[in-house]
Symmetry: C2
Subunit: 230 residues, 2 copies
DNA sequence: GCAAAAGTGTTAGGTGTACACCCATGA
DNA sequence: TCATGGGTGTACACCTAACACTTTTGC
């Protein structure tokens, strides 16, 4: 029996903790949950759960996200593993943290009631349990780095979005403002977006053209030696 | 007893796997080990070990590195966590991967004999056990990203290094060549190095001035809004 | 004295940045 | 018709990239 090779080694609880990030009204929000079990039941925390024997760690993260939000198939990325001996009050738990980027518009607010979660502006998050505040800090830091060099942030927008929306997103992430013309030139020159024929008229009377992100074009852009940066 | 909260949850073996990277003769090398225990004992693999109850995961990585190389206090960074159900042959093991950057000159080659390790050029590594080849691939990818935006690669050089050495290092990492004058201007303009008065005469008759990386100056540079890039 | 690597400035072209006006539309 | 946000082009400053010769010294 091969499984005896590692006998004598200790085993540990392994959990996943998940940040769900959304963008609305020029603000970044994170979905905060009330802890579902002891210790510290009812306190603010990330969405978390234990890894099950029949699923990979990545799969566990997807499952936990789905359990708390009903959302499937979203962009997720590992932030890191948190393994201090005493990080959990009750017992030693090694936790792998993830963040998920979702289109907040397609998120059903009623699910917040069901799962006891709420959206909190990312810079206004209060005390969370254990080391979750540190995880949040690390996540924001990674997010900012990713934003500069890869188009993952598009996951925060609906599939069809407008350039003013996109600009607003990046202005929020970088806490700055951009010149409209320069921003448009930069993004359009990459030739990774498709312009649609219809407009979004929710924000102005004239309406702004919709665009979609074109993965094929983006791959071409990379092959030609292009580097995404905004 | 608080530790009963999580009863009913599964526990897992948790290991750390560590890449040790060095730079010599214009080449990047990685320290490959012979696996010390079954299954696949004697096969090529990363330096690995199980996390112990009394140490954090990060501490386990440092310990494993030290056990295999005798080196303490080096730069280490988490690559990611590998948690596929069947990734290990014998039993489910969740592994957190790290890379370490060391000054290969200060590494005692005799330790390779003791611990059954050897330096392999990073692009010539053969088949490793389990998913270690994937871990290597991910590590190289992270390394390249880090190199562009932070001065961590200085850890691959001795404390006192020359500009030709530094240039050679970056040329190797990026698989390219730089113009000497442009490279010097760029790095010196950041004002993050200290020029020493003595020279390294091992590579030329004239000798090249030694420099050291100045952490204080680098912090100042960052505070002034500077962004490291080479 | 010569081979071999270290060190040094200038210029042209491209990239990023600043900037102001017209357009389309619903109310 | 007017208020609101969407859309467009140019000029200048800065930065990047290309380029060649002199210096030092051990042999």
């Amino acid at each position: 029996m091969t499984s005896s090779f590692y006998q004598g080694q200790e085993k540990y609880f392994v959990s996943v903790d998940c940040f769900c990030i959304g963008f609305k009204d020029s603000r970044l929000y994170v979905l905060i949950a009330k802890r579902k079990f002891e210790p510290l039941i009812g306190e603010d925390s990330l969405m978390g759960g234990f890894v099950r024997p029949d699923e990979s760690v990545d799969a566990a993260a997807s499952r936990v996200l789905s359990e708390y939000t009903g959302i499937e198939d979203v962009y997720m990325e590992q932030v890191g593993t948190y393994g201090e001996v005493e990080r959990d009050l009750a017992d030693r738990v090694i936790s792998i943290a993830y963040y998920a980027l979702i289109d907040i518009e397609s998120f059903n607010e009623e699910l917040c009631l069901v799962h006891n979660t709420r959206w909190v502006e990312i810079n206004q998050v209060g005390k969370l349990v254990f080391d979750h505040n540190k995880i949040l800090k690390d996540t924001i830091s990674i997010l900012e780095k990713r934003a500069t060099s890869s188009p993952v942030m598009f996951n925060l927008l609906p599939e069809k979005f407008t350039l003013p929306q996109l600009q607003s997103l990046y202005e929020t992430i970088y806490s700055t403002t951009f010149d409209k013309r320069n921003f448009r030139k930069k993004i359009l020159d990459m030739n990774i977006l498709d312009k649609k024929e219809d407009k979004d008229k929710s924000a102005s009377k004239r309406g702004a053209f919709y665009y979609t992100f074109d993965t094929e074009k983006y791959n071409l852009f990379l092959q030609k030696g292009g580097h995404f940066s905004l």
